[in-house]
């Protein structure tokens, strides 16, 4: 199989219709805004799991925060009828991701698990994916980060520490998914069981607002909660087809 054939076949593969139906899994997360309290436990859990650097005050002041999942807050109304609504924002793992088309070196692409892959060691730092992402959930390493000893002893060996000049983002804790698949193989199972794998944020959410699972399995918790009438997707009009589904907040004053 010559290099050219390989390339061409890959191209055909990509162009084929029904590309998405051939996933092994379609990992999906639902976020119930009626449960979310905005406490920020998910943020810290993610930082702990994914070796997200401690950016430091000076860098934060320059607007370079690094939180693969962040809590966005939106005010409505004025005193005394002011309302504050939270929404956790993370990589939406879009099935039609704008970021994937633009990377010149294919450092980000869609893999067979329906995940929006970011390959750190392939990234050359054009930062175009961050521009193309309408959710601004891609974070760039503007410099090398360091951990004051012995903080570095906490770093998770299953996740790379990203170097300067590299783009990074939420991976749905791919290291956990990988491990779950590994266990499944050990038990001679073909598939991962529902609930067997949970990203750090889902695992820790105190009000159980986050649900994670495989939407190809109709009996999974996530499929059920996706079929809730409150389900919607942020910026759906852009047709990026996110794999993160939000459940509307219930608000008596809302229309």
């Amino acid at each position: 199989m010559s290099i050219w054939d390989r390339f061409a076949s890959g191209w055909r593969e990509f162009r084929k219709d029904g590309y998405y139906e051939e996933f092994d899994y379609a990992w999906t997360m639902t976020i119930d805004l009626d449960r979310c309290t905005g406490c920020g436990a998910c943020v810290t859990a993610c930082q702990a799991e994914n070796n997200i650097p401690i950016v430091g005050e000076e860098q934060l002041e320059r607007g370079r925060e690094m939180q693969w999942i962040r809590i966005e807050r939106y005010w409505e109304g004025e005193y005394p009828n002011a309302k504050l609504k939270f929404i956790p924002m993370l990589c939406q793992q879009c099935d039609a991701a704008p970021c994937e088309t633009v990377c010149p070196v294919t450092a980000t692409y869609h893999n067979q698990d329906g995940l929006n892959v970011q390959v750190y060691n392939r990234c050359i730092g054009t930062r175009s994916c961050a521009v193309y992402c309408p959710y601004t959930v891609r974070y760039f390493n503007y410099n090398d980060h360091h951990w004051d000893a012995p903080l570095e002893q906490q770093l998770n060996p299953d996740v790379t520490v990203r170097e300067k000049g590299v783009m990074e983002k939420c991976t749905f804790c791919v290291q956990r998914i990988r491990q779950a698949k590994d266990h499944a193989k050990d038990d001679g199972r073909r598939r991962v069981r529902d609930g067997e794998v949970q990203p750090a944020c889902v695992q820790t959410c105190p009000s159980e607002a986050l649900v994670f699972g495989d939407r190809k399995d109709a009996s999974s918790r996530v499929s059920k909660s996706m079929s809730d009438a409150r389900a919607y997707r942020v910026l759906d009009e852009l047709n990026t087809q996110p794999s993160v589904v939000y459940l509307k907040k219930v608000d008596a004053d809302a229309d």
């Binding site: 370079r64 966005e72 088309t101 633009v102 294919t106 930062r127 760039f140």
Partner: protein, 450 residues
């Protein structure tokens, strides 16, 4: 200027041009020295610091991850459109007035393209892996992403660079030969090599003419495509304010606009400091002035159109973006741009203005400042107003970025200064073509005709 009344002789041309190559004053060396020092201090030093520290040395943030580096990139690409494109068009339309200025114009193309390429390197987070953007078989079994407009960019620019360097070189072969025959020592050797043993036989002339025209035709679509593709880097995103179908023509027009202004600047300099008063005349400025006027009107039209689309869309995203551009943090820059590129050029209506040199120089510089601002605003005003209001943040360039802008100009100047000492910056043979045959005793009419 009585110099222009004086009847030019063919030998004058030779002498003037060769003088411009051989005779070098202290002024030249001083300027060159300054340019080089400036380039090292303002471009390479900050860049190396940035390589060591990371892109954080620049002022970019999330979500404004692009900054002045990309703006400069577009700017230089734009500037490159002056030369080759213009000279091709004029060559095909066979307009005489082109002939004195096209060489330097094409040189501009070449050098601004080079500087643009450098800006890409500066922009990248990990430039030492730039080769991954080039398709070549490798053990990783990986190819670049052929869907990416950035990759189109890489290809378009390389092609354009190749095309225009061949074009300028081919055009100057006869002149190399001419200079070759008037120089000695290492220069002679150099020009021997460069002129590829040009003898000036009819066959050679014929082939040159044919190939030259052929390339000219080839390059025009190329030039247009290059900046369309650059515009796609932005237009193909879904960022409010960037995602617009008008962008390709917008960029092309803008490019030619700033390019033409660039030519005016360069021609003024050549005329003044290389004593080409006889060859670069009011005529040229007049014509270029007219061209500029047309372009500025086109440019303004597209700008108005852009605003209109924003307003007409009626979506919160586009609308906020519009408001931000007109009245937001960067508003002063925006109005400066309108003044320099939309309003000031209207002066060109007056014939007197077009034919007076210094005002033309000032205007051309103003236009290019305005055009740089435009490129900066395209990035700054849109990225800092993305879809999710919670992520909005203002972007202010850092010192490193500013100094690299200055440095890139210095780099351009350096290259150009070297050029004028190696290339005959005014085309000898084509200028001759424009002149009427000198009557001389003893030479019959038929002999003097070509």
């Amino acid at each position: 200027m009585q110099t222009e009344e004086r009847q030019l002789q063919f030998t004058d041309i030779h002498n003037d041009v060769v003088r411009s190559l051989v005779v070098t004053g202290r002024k030249y060396y001083i300027t060159l020295g300054c340019a080089i020092v400036l380039m090292l201090a303002c471009f390479f030093f900050p860049w190396f610091y940035q390589l060591y520290y990371g892109i954080g040395a620049a002022g970019m943030n999330s979500p404004t991850v692009w900054g002045t580096y990309l703006a400069s990139f577009i700017f230089w690409i734009g500037l490159s459109h002056s030369g080759t494109l213009l000279s091709c068009v004029l060559h095909i339309t066979n307009s005489q007035w082109r002939k004195a200025m096209y060489r330097s114009a094409e040189a501009m193309t070449l050098f601004s393209l080079m500087v643009a390429a450098m800006m890409v390197m500066v922009h990248l987070g990990r430039p030492w892996f730039i080769h991954w953007a080039v398709p070549y078989p490798n053990q990783m079994g990986l190819w670049p992403n052929f869907r990416s407009p950035l990759l189109f960019d890489v290809m378009a620019i390389t092609t354009y660079l190749t095309g225009s360097s061949i074009f300028i070189y081919m055009g100057s072969i006869p002149d190399f030969a001419a200079v070759r025959d008037r120089t000695a020592g290492w220069r002679h050797h150099m020009y021997v090599l460069l002129s590829l043993g040009w003898r000036g036989t009819d066959t050679e002339w014929h082939r040159l003419g044919w190939a030259y025209t052929f390339l000219a035709v080839l390059i025009i679509p190329l030039a247009v495509s290059v900046h369309s593709i650059v515009s796609w880097d932005f237009a193909m995103s879904i960022v409010p304010g960037l995602h617009q179908t008008i962008f390709a023509p917008y960029f092309v027009v803008g490019a030619i606009y700033s390019g033409t202004a660039g030519i005016v600047t360069v021609m003024f300099v050549l005329r003044k400091y290389m004593n080409f008063e006889q060859y670069i005349t009011k005529l040229h400025f007049d014509n270029l002035g007219k061209l500029l006027l047309v372009l500025s009107l086109l440019w303004s039209y597209i700008n108005i159109l852009e605003l209109f689309t924003g307003w007409y869309s009626g979506t919160s995203t586009e609308y906020e973006q519009l408001k931000y551009k007109l009245f937001g943090f960067y508003a002063p820059l925006y109005w400066e741009m309108i003044l320099f590129c939309g309003v000031a050029p209207l002066l060109l209506i007056s014939n007197k203005f077009r034919t007076s040199f210094v005002p033309m120089l000032l205007l051309s510089i103003a236009i290019n400042i305005g055009m740089y601002t435009e490129r900066f605003l395209i990035i700054a005003t849109t990225l800092s107003r993305q879809y999710l209001p919670e992520s909005w943040r203002v972007y202010v360039p850092s010192l490193v970025e500013l100094s690299i802008i200055v440095g890139s100009v210095a780099m351009f100047v350096t290259l150009f200064l070297l050029f004028v000492k190696i290339f005959p910056s005014v085309s000898i043979y084509e200028v001759k073509e424009t002149m009427k045959i000198p009557k001389r005793k003893g030479i019959p009419e038929w002999q003097a005709t070509h």
